[in-house]
């Protein structure tokens, strides 16, 4: 089925398609449409919609619902995302599957509620205290909003980890044709109804342990404290903690190849390259066309996964071009990754513009490229 719809609605449709049957959230511009759409659709599918008293409550409610066995999600923007960080840390520590959509807006603090930005990248990856990792996906079109939300649920169920879909106001509100497929591949969490295997350990560091079901007399202990493989709290020992946190981190790192998604365009004659994500990737594509018209071949990497990152596509471009430009609607966040990955293969030039929701126009990207090439 095809519909002309916004990125926000497409995220919601993707969630429903992936089997999401629980939504708890708090309204916040520019993500509220996701919530309102779920309020309309979920109950009709027998799912549960709940408006919480704030974002802290929302993230904790979906943690409870996930442990109850339902695929759960919430949607928010910067200020609400900040409030949810502790809850996300808890979900990582207890290996609770859930999906959070952050439709980015100008920050910090209240910023400009209705204006797009890309300033939550580092926060999405690192916002929790302590050692932790999760997965961050970044759509750059309404279609990708749907596809990547489905993917987010699948990854979250398979790896028993929260997944962030990092959208922005431009993508969230723009309207394009979206194909809602009849069938999508759905991954359900592995469950266990007995305790033959410990619920918080896996011999294979790439795999999450099966999730036990509550209310079956298994006497499961779920805790945010450091715990052993059976969930028993151990706030003293070195070994218990190191083993746990090593496994939580490796679970994401070792699945990088599996989870990493990107778009790349790179020809033999590329002289300049771009690395970007989200709505800026659209402008980059436009810039590449304009440059080609002027006889300049440009390469680009559009990152659809912002964490974990596989370096290869960016390295390939770096080995060919004189410079990589990193346009982003923030004061410089993705550029740090690119600098690290590229090393001294070529120069890395940031292009930062944020405020008023003004996109980075293809013409601005072209100007920067021409400036850099000289």
């Amino acid at each position: 089925m095809r519909m002309l719809t916004s990125g926000n609605i497409a995220c919601a449709e993707g969630a429903l398609k992936a089997g999401c049957r629980f939504y708890a959230g708090y309204p916040i511009t520019p993500s509220s449409e996701i919530m309102e759409y779920m309020a309309l659709k979920l109950p009709k599918l027998g799912g549960i919609f709940f408006q919480a008293e704030d974002e802290i409550s929302a993230i904790n409610i979906i943690i409870g619902a996930s442990w109850g066995g339902l695929k759960s999600m919430t949607a928010t923007s910067g200020p609400g995302f900040s409030l949810m960080q502790e809850g996300l840390g808890y979900a990582i520590m207890t290996e609770t599957p859930l999906v959070v959509i952050d439709v980015m807006r100008v920050g910090p603090a209240t910023g400009q509620a209705t204006k797009s930005a890309q300033g939550d990248l580092m926060q999405a990856r690192w916002g929790r205290h302590g050692d932790q990792q999760l997965v961050v996906l970044a759509p750059s079109s309404p279609q990708e909003c749907l596809d990547l939300t489905v993917k987010a649920f699948n990854i979250s169920e398979e790896l028993r980890v929260p997944v962030i879909v990092l959208s922005d106001e431009i993508i969230g509100h723009m309207r394009e044709t979206v194909e809602i497929p009849e069938y999508v591949k759905i991954v359900d969490r592995r469950i266990t109804e007995d305790l033959s295997m410990p619920p918080f350990h896996s011999d294979n560091p790439r795999e999450a342990p099966p999730m036990p079901i509550l209310g079956r007399g298994l006497n499961i202990m779920v805790t945010g404290s450091t715990h052993d493989e059976w969930g028993l709290r151990d706030t003293r020992g070195f070994e218990t903690h190191f083993k746990l946190v090593r496994r939580l981190v490796d679970k994401i790192k070792l699945n990088a190849e599996k989870v990493f998604e990107y778009e790349k365009y790179n020809t033999e004659n590329s002289t300049v390259g771009f690395v970007s994500f989200g709505s800026v990737a659209r402008s980059v594509k436009g810039a590449v066309k304009i440059l080609r018209g002027r006889g300049i071949e440009a390469a680009y990497v559009n990152l659809k996964t912002l964490w974990p990152i596989v370096d290869d596509p960016i390295i390939e471009v770096a080995e060919r071009v004189k410079a990589i430009i990193v346009p982003e609607m923030n004061m410089g966040q993705l550029v740090w990754d690119v600098e690290r990955i590229v090393g001294d293969r070529c120069i890395v030039v940031p292009l930062n513009k944020v405020g008023g929701g003004e996109p980075i126009y293809p013409s601005e990207i072209v100007s920067k490229a021409l400036e850099v090439i000289k």
Binding site: P43, I48, I61, W67, G215, S225
Partner: protein, 266 residues
């Protein structure tokens, strides 16, 4: 020979508990488990306990031989609510302290009471932040010396039971550990009820409250008994008001949610 009556509901291999000698947590555990026993439960299979952070939150996790979720500070109620919404057949019980429920978690408490969410919340009130070393709590009496009010508390304490009753909960009651029988009966009554049920159990914190008063804990417990008045009686200054603040039987949140979904599905 038999073991203590509560042993069948506990992870006895973890005893003795890490609670201080004379801590009221163990007495509250006894009252709760005696209520459970008298209601006919042979084990805790039908329950899921959710707790926050603090000494009282350690009651179900790890000591109860049951499913338990030990959450973030103040967030036991939302996690319990999410769990109950997704698994209505489970008996979801929150056990946590006054710092967890009535301070950082106060917002969630009020809204859950307002919604008449189908949860039983047992708040162990020792009038202090015990686990972190004896700091002031919103329930600390006026004038009391704590580690952050070393010259006397200048704030009036919160009456959580009254707040919960006003917000619309079906059941709200306060007892002390000195009123073992009444506490146990109140828990039994609340278990059979729908909607939001809130029971506050005033309890001694040996290390940070009783010790400051320089009396043995058994004397403190006697003082809890003598210093209590039943709700409705003429209040003396500085008395602990015990009794039932609310005793209603209105539709709980799950019922309303159920009707809402059924109406939409035709």
């Amino acid at each position: 020979m038999r073991d203590h009556f509560a042993a069948k509901y506990l992870r006895v291999e973890l005893l003795p508990t890490s609670f201080c000698p004379g801590c009221g947590n163990g007495i509250v555990m006894n009252a709760f488990l005696k209520a459970v026993e008298e209601l006919g439960y042979e084990d805790l299979k039908e329950f899921v306990f959710v707790s926050g952070i603090g000494c009282s939150s350690w009651i179900p996790n790890p000591y109860f031989k049951a499913d338990s979720i030990h959450t973030l500070h103040g967030r036991a109620i939302p996690v319990a609510l999410g769990l109950k919404l997704s698994r209505p057949e489970l008996n979801v019980v929150v056990i946590a302290g006054d710092g967890d429920i009535a301070s950082i978690g106060l917002e969630h408490l009020v809204h859950a009471a307002r919604r008449n969410a189908d949860l039983l919340v047992l708040m162990v009130n020792n009038m202090i932040y015990g686990m972190t070393g004896g700091q002031q709590a919103p329930t600390t009496p006026l004038g009391f010396e704590t580690s952050t009010t070393p010259y006397g508390n200048i704030e009036k304490p919160l009456d959580a039971c009254a707040l919960v009753a006003t917000a619309g909960a079906n059941y709200s009651a306060r007892w002390t550990v000195a009123h073992f029988h009444r506490l146990k009966e109140s828990i039994k009554k609340a278990m059979g009820r729908r909607g939001f049920r809130f029971i506050e159990a005033v309890s001694p914190c040996t290390s940070h409250v009783v010790r400051r008063l320089k009396i043995p804990v058994s004397t403190y417990i006697k003082q809890l008994r003598e210093g209590s008045v039943l709700i409705g009686a003429e209040e003396g200054i500085g008395k602990i008001v015990i009794g039932e603040y609310a005793d209603r039987d209105e539709e709980g949140f799950m019922e309303r949610m159920h009707k809402y979904i059924n109406r939409l599905r035709g």
